[in-house]
Structure formats: C-alpha cells, structure tokens
C-alpha cells in the first residue's frame, strides 16, 4: 500500500504489532526440545507406527516446514526430532561421511535444539543414525534406527506422473509398468540402467524407492535386526522397512541383481586407498596429480578399519 496512506487510515484498522513480544530471548530454537511442537511430533510418531505396521506403504503426513531447506533432509530431520530423547546417541552422515557440510549442518541444528542428546561418529554406538544416500557398512543391530532422507518416495514416478493413479497401482500391487521398464532396459542396453534408488519389494507386496542409496546398499535392507525409517519432507510421505523383513530388489529370474562394480582392469576388487578394505563402497576421485583414487565412502568404517589394522 502507499506509504503515506497509512497515516490517513484510522488507527484501529492498521495492523497492530506488539513489538515487546519479539526479542531474541524468545528464540524458539532454544526453547523447545526438538524444535517441533508436541502436536507435530505426535503426528509423526503415529505416522511411523502405521508405516512400521504396513511395511513399504507410503503414509502421507502433513510435514512441517523446517529451518533447513526442502531437499536437504527435512523429512529425515522431522523423524529424527520426533524420536530423539535425552538418552539417545545420534549420528548424522551424508554421502557416508560425518564431515560432509550437510551432515555437519543437520548435526549442529539437532544439538542446538535437543540439548542432552549425545553425538557420535561411530556407527555401532549410535541409537539413531540419520543418513543421506548411504547405509553404513557396519550392519545395523537390534535397537538401532536408521533414518533415511528421501527426495522421491515413489518408485512408480518413473512410469506414472499422477500421484492418485500411483496410489491405486500400489494398492493393487500393480507393478507391471515397472517390470516393462526393466525389460525394455534389457532389450535396449542388455543391462538394467537404474543406478541408485533401485525399486525394492518389501515383505512381498509394496515396492519402495529405497532413497538414493547405491545398489550396493540395497541388500543391507533385507532381514536385518535394525529398523529403517524413510522420510520424504517435501513429498510429505513416511515409510518403513521394519527389522527382519524381506527386501527384494526387482529382478528377473535370469538377470541377477548386480551392485556397483569395483573390479580393476586385472579383475581384482579395488581396495580402499586408505584403509585397504575390499568390502566397502568406494568413492572415486582424482588426486592432486590427476590420477584416479578410490577410498571408502563410509568415513567411520574407514577410520575403524585403519585403527584395527594398526
């Protein structure tokens, strides 16, 4: 509105702002344990119960806006904040690393809003692990919860645009078009071209998008003692792979599921350049001289292997 006009409008019709209530001591982030109010946490916990009860089913929830951007892990963050108690031990990773900028940022936010929660970088010590793009190399134990950040909750999105139609397809267990997509890949490329976010059938019914973990991590979802919770904040869905549940990547009988290949030109499995491990997912990068180097993507695993070797 015109700046001068305000002075002509009777006092009573102008917006009243009570400046006294706005000061830094009211900074909400330091006042409320876990940032979210208790109604929001309750909604998420109820959603989690439903998700665990119907393995692989995407449960819609309202998904509050968080102070970090959509796409940076707000779905995972809301789950973590709803679960954390003061006796929990939290680990946050991104790309397998505790030191990645986004992991550091999320960990800082959680430690600021959840005073009393212990932080760790060592997978076996954690009760809750929030992660983006990786499942840690150390197998999950009973009682451990892995919270995965999810950009695309629905594996059917590659074959069907409409969410309403996808919901029906899931309900009917109709994954025919997904199978056709895999088949067409074989016809065109003699390979299934899906690299990460590999469609995985949970408990024999719902097919999930396991989040952008590499295919290397998909078998880690199958029949393990830990609980996996998936949070898609922007898309407002939560789903779960409970402990000791079947998780089968979609494949044909005569086309085995294959994880990323780390063999060198001589046919040997590449070791980690740092710890020497030959059973971990490797990051590939160029060193200062421009030669290709391979190193564990899971920084905690790499450090632990190095310690054990010494």
């Amino acid at each position: 509105m015109n700046p001068t006009l305000q002075e002509t409008v009777p006092e009573k019709v102008l917006p009243q702002v009570n400046s006294e209530e706005l000061d830094s001591s009211k900074d909400i982030t330091t006042k409320q344990f876990g940032f979210l109010d208790s109604f929001a946490k309750k909604e998420i916990r109820r959603t989690l119960f439903k998700a665990v009860s119907i393995p692989g089913y995407q449960v819609p929830y309202s998904s509050r806006e968080m102070p970090i951007a959509r796409g940076f892990g707000t779905g995972g963050l809301q789950i973590t904040l709803s679960l954390l108690g003061k006796d929990d031990v939290l680990k946050v990773i991104d790309q397998g690393s505790d030191e990645s900028v986004n992991a550091v940022n999320i960990r800082n936010f959680i430690s600021k809003t959840c005073p009393g929660v212990s932080l760790t970088k060592h997978t076996p010590e954690a009760t809750i692990i929030q992660t983006r793009h990786r499942i840690p190399e150390f197998p999950l134990k009973l009682g451990q919860i892995l919270v995965l950040q999810v950009p695309y909750p629905d594996p059917l999105v590659i074959v069907e645009n409409s969410e309403a139609k996808r919901k029906q397809m899931h309900g009917e267990g109709d994954y025919a078009r997904l199978w056709v997509k895999l088949y067409e890949d074989m016809v065109k490329f003699s390979e299934i071209t899906i690299s990460h976010r590999y469609p995985t059938r949970i408990n024999g019914h719902y097919v999930i998008d396991p989040s952008p973990i590499p295919r290397f991590d998909v078998p880690k979802l199958h029949q393990v003692p830990g609980l996996h919770l998936f949070g898609a904040g922007r898309e407002k869905k939560i789903y779960a792979v409970p402990p000791f549940t079947d998780a089968q990547p979609l494949t044909f009988e005569d086309v085995p599921f294959r994880v990323e290949d780390f063999t060198d030109s001589n046919g040997n499995r590449r070791p980690c350049n740092r710890c020497g491990s030959t059973d971990s997912y490797l990051d590939e990068f160029l060193d200062e001289e421009g030669s290709r180097v391979y190193q564990c993507s899971d920084s905690d695993y790499c450090n632990s292997m190095l310690m054990t070797a010494q």
């Binding site: 019709v13 979210l36 819609p60 991104d94 900028v101 590499p214």
Partner: protein, 364 residues
C-alpha cells in the same frame, strides 16, 4: 593420507555464513535498513513475502526481508519455518470480506457498481518513466511529499463496508447458487494433500503459493491452454477485520485485522447438468498483503481446476496435481538448491551403469 573424499564441514559453513553477513553490511556509508523502512518503502516486496510466508506477521516479514537481503523465496521461507513452531490455538469462523475496510476496489465487469469503483493506490496506470530526482532524495523532500498529499485529501468519510459485486449477479440468477452448508475448510498445514483434494485445500495452497509460479501456470491458461475467458467481477484490497469468539462470552469480537487482496472472476458459461439453467463459472483468489497479480492468477486457476475436475483435464492448468504440487516456493526452491549438495555416491553409481552399458554395447 587424510580422509579427502569429503571435507569442508564446520569451519567452511561458519566462514561462509560470516561472509554472507558481511555482504549485507559492506556499505558503511548508509544506516542499517530499519524494519519500518522495509514495511513502508518496500511495501510491494513486503506484501509478497507476507503472502508467500503464510503467516500474517508484518514485523517478522520485514525482518525476513532484511535477513534474506531481499530474496523473496528465502524471506518467505523464514516466515514458514517460524510458523512451524507456532501451535494452532484456535480456528476462526468464516470471515466476511464484505466487512473489509477498503483502500481499493474495482470491477472490470460493470461501469457502475453498488458503492462505486475506487481506484486506490495502484501502479496500473503509471507511465514507467524514471523519476531521476529519486536518485538523490533528501529527507526534507521525502517528508514534503507526504505533507502535500495529506493536506490535499478531501474530508470525506467512507462507509465501513461495501457490498460485493457478485451478490447482484447472484440475485439475477447469473451465478450458481451457494452451498447452504459450507464444509469445514481443509487445513494444509495439518493435513497432507491426498488427491483428489477439496477446493478449500486448493485455495489454501494457492493462497500461499509463490507468485511467479502461480502466474506462469495461470498465464498458460490465459494464452490459450484452456482459456476460461475470465472477467474480473471485483478486485478489492483492504483491511479485513478478523473476528474471533470472545474466550468467555463466546461473542464474536474483532481480534485484529489483516491486509488482504481478494479477486473474484466470472468465467464464460457452459452447458450445465440437466434441469438447471446455465450460469457463469466463478473463480476465487485471496491472499495476505496487496498482491493483485497473485490474486487474479489464483482466481483463474481456481476456475481452471474446477473445470478440470468437472469436465476432465485437458491442460496443465486444469490438473490439480500438476498445479498444486508445483507452486510452492519453499518446496521448489529447496529442491532446486539441493542439487548443489554432494551427489558423489549416486553419481558414482550412474558412472558404473554407463560404463557397464558401454561395455555391453562394445561386446554386441
């Protein structure tokens, strides 16, 4: 050899934050921007952020603009994140926009409307020529403009409320009749959108949508991807008294008021179902702040979405999933930004597939 695959971390973040803050204060010649200046001198920007932030808090909207250095997406984001921490303490009854204390009101449908047209503060008929004297505006000159304007306003008392243009059309039977029992509005902040969604969910989503996104999809409709042939029956801007029941007596009382823009369009009629007369279609748009382009875009999309629901989707602007899931600025900007984050693991996985597929190609 250290762990080199990913580094940066804590120090990098805090240094980057400090550098960003320095950019804001880098010009020491000027005084810091006051929230008051933002609210008044940048009122268009302020209105936009207020509406996209989805919480009516003019002072915090000003702070959000200051903190985000004028980035509308970021500023609205601050308000939304703040909103997440506010518990819902009650639900207002339906507010009547007839009660709006108007600063502007126009109709493109009729030359004369009950209560009269009131142009109010509008940029519509400005000639967009620079006022070069504003390059160096003195405080004296600044105050002078206000003083002159105030001295010259006629002493005239406006009525407290104006009738709605649509009411007269409705009385003539040119509009569909209103449902006698309005259903409880859908609260998009407490419930996820599961399609198909009620109209109130669509309206709420559009009301806090990003202006540019809403405009782009509405414009596609205007240009011919499903043109609904809109006419602005009434566009009003003003302060809407917010009525709440008194905590003890339960009587409705005015708790405050909000600056709002409301737009009602009528769209070309179509053959209706059996046994009823054909009528014009209606589209409704409303948002916080003074945002006319947004309110008009919203009204057009409201009509287009209803058309899609009744007659089947033929254009993007008629598809409620397409429209409602792609107009939220906080969501779309967040996802666009997330591509800047490390994707080492997934990219390596992509490389693995491409290399293997290339090898398969060589073999065959």
């Amino acid at each position: 050899m250290g762990y080199v695959a990913i580094k940066g971390g804590e120090n990098a973040i805090s240094e980057a934050t400090a550098l960003l803050e320095f950019l804001r204060v880098n010009n020491q010649a000027d005084p810091p921007l006051s929230i008051n200046s933002i609210q008044h001198q940048l009122h268009a920007l302020h209105s936009r952020v207020l509406s996209e932030g989805g919480i009516y808090h003019p002072e915090l909207a000003g702070l959000a603009i200051k903190q985000s250095a004028g980035d509308t997406l970021e500023a609205a984001f601050y308000l939304r994140a703040y909103r997440s921490t506010c518990p819902r303490i009650g639900i207002t009854p339906v507010q009547k926009t007839e009660q709006m204390r108007l600063i502007r009101r126009i109709s493109a449908a009729f030359k004369e409307i009950p209560g009269g047209q009131m142009l109010g503060p509008t940029s519509d008929y400005l000639q967009r020529l620079f006022k070069f004297d504003l390059l160096k505006e003195s405080p004296e000159r600044f105050r002078e403009i206000a003083k002159t304007w105030l001295e010259n306003i006629p002493d005239e008392q406006l009525p407290d409320s104006f009738p709605k243009v649509l009411d007269s059309l409705r009385a003539e039977g040119l509009l569909p009749s209103v449902e006698s029992k309005p259903s409880q509005p859908f609260d998009i902040t407490r419930e996820p959108l599961v399609f198909p969604v009620p109209r109130s969910a669509a309206l709420a989503t559009m009301s806090r949508a990003e202006t540019g996104s809403l405009l782009a999809i509405a414009y596609s409709n205007m240009r011919g991807y499903g043109n609904i042939h809109p006419t602005v029956a009434e566009l009003r801007v003003g302060y809407l008294p917010v009525m709440l029941p008194h905590p003890i007596s339960g009587e409705l009382m005015e708790a405050g008021n909000v600056l709002m823009t409301e737009c009602e369009i009528v769209a070309m009629y179509r053959a209706s179902e059996e046994d009823t007369k054909p009528t014009f279609g209606l589209g409704y748009g409303a948002c916080f702040g003074h945002n006319e382009v947004k309110a008009i875009s919203m009204a057009i999309l409201d009509r287009a979405l209803q058309k899609g629901e009744q007659q089947g989707v033929e254009n993007p602007s008629e598809d409620s999933e397409f429209v409602l899931l792609h107009i939220d600025g906080i969501e779309s900007m967040g996802f666009a930004s997330h591509y800047k984050m490390p994707h080492y693991v997934t990219f390596h996985s992509d490389l693995d597939r491409l290399r293997t597929t290339q090898q398969q190609g060589e073999k065959s």
